[in-house]
Subunit: 197 residues, 2 copies
Amino acid sequence: MTSKQPAQRLRKSPGQVRSAVHQAVIDLLSDPGGADLTIPAVAQRAGVNHTSIYRRWGGREALLADVVVTRLERDSPLADTGTLRGDLRAWAEAGVASIRTPEGRLLIRAVALSMPGSATAQGKRAQQFERRMAAIERIRDRATARGEVPPPLDQILDQLVAPLYLRALFGIEPPASGYPDLLVDRLLGSPDTPRPA
Amino acid sequence: MTSKQPAQRLRKSPGQVRSAVHQAVIDLLSDPGGADLTIPAVAQRAGVNHTSIYRRWGGREALLADVVVTRLERDSPLADTGTLRGDLRAWAEAGVASIRTPEGRLLIRAVALSMPGSATAQGKRAQQFERRMAAIERIRDRATARGEVPPPLDQILDQLVAPLYLRALFGIEPPASGYPDLLVDRLLGSPDTPRPA
């Protein structure tokens, strides 16, 4: 892989490279001009050689996934409220807050863009999504350790995660208030009535 | 906008252009090599001048949206079963069948890619999604005309549309059987019990 770009400031530390590249991805995603998010474009904006990006991340999808997971973990640290309902509500509240910000919506969009495009890459894609779902798994594990019985992951995906992603992706505003509670109540049953079968 | 491409076969009829361009988009989306889906790449593959594409579709997002809506309407014509439950189940069954095929997953991915990237384009994005939701609106209208009371569109998005999109996008297999019914039962309540409040 030979570089056609002029040699650039190559003496960044690994941490500086990472941070400059992450910021370049966010900047490019935010650009209303809609420049294509390519590795050369990221490299140029970050002031690093694009071979460093290929070497470190392997490609665009892995880079995007790294940016997304890093930002979302930084912006939405996982609350430990002591109950399954509280933890899920906190997760949903962070999600709703996130999709109300431009950067949050960009990140969700980036998750979609970062999915491997090949029809045969299903396994790789699912694996990447599992990394994103680690927070939900930790909530389930804590509930089980407390003796609660959390819904299956599949059901949490369908009823809690999917609505937030869909709305972020398509720009559909969530209801003005009470939306996190609404989603959690649909999933667990309302607090005063037993969970639906 | 001046063309840097060599002059190509320009004498296609509008219908031929449309069909060649649509097929080129599908081909490029299907390419495991993952070439970026740019207008020049589509033009080259379709054998049309890229100025024709800009003139007709305006840009990549509108082109992708047109391809997706056209294919999905062709592949999943809307069934009129005579009941709200039957219509929603038929919609969900078509959706599940679609995400089990490589082309179906590509199309869902294309929907995500076709969303305008700009943070300020929320309105445009929502409008495009509404075009995709026309089938659901027709199902709701028919139910209302029969005297049934369909759930609000928002709730159908959350509980029926969102899970299918999420699974298509992230390559998460739906449960092997009964998934359309499961989603519809969550939305309407199971057939033997009243709908949850």
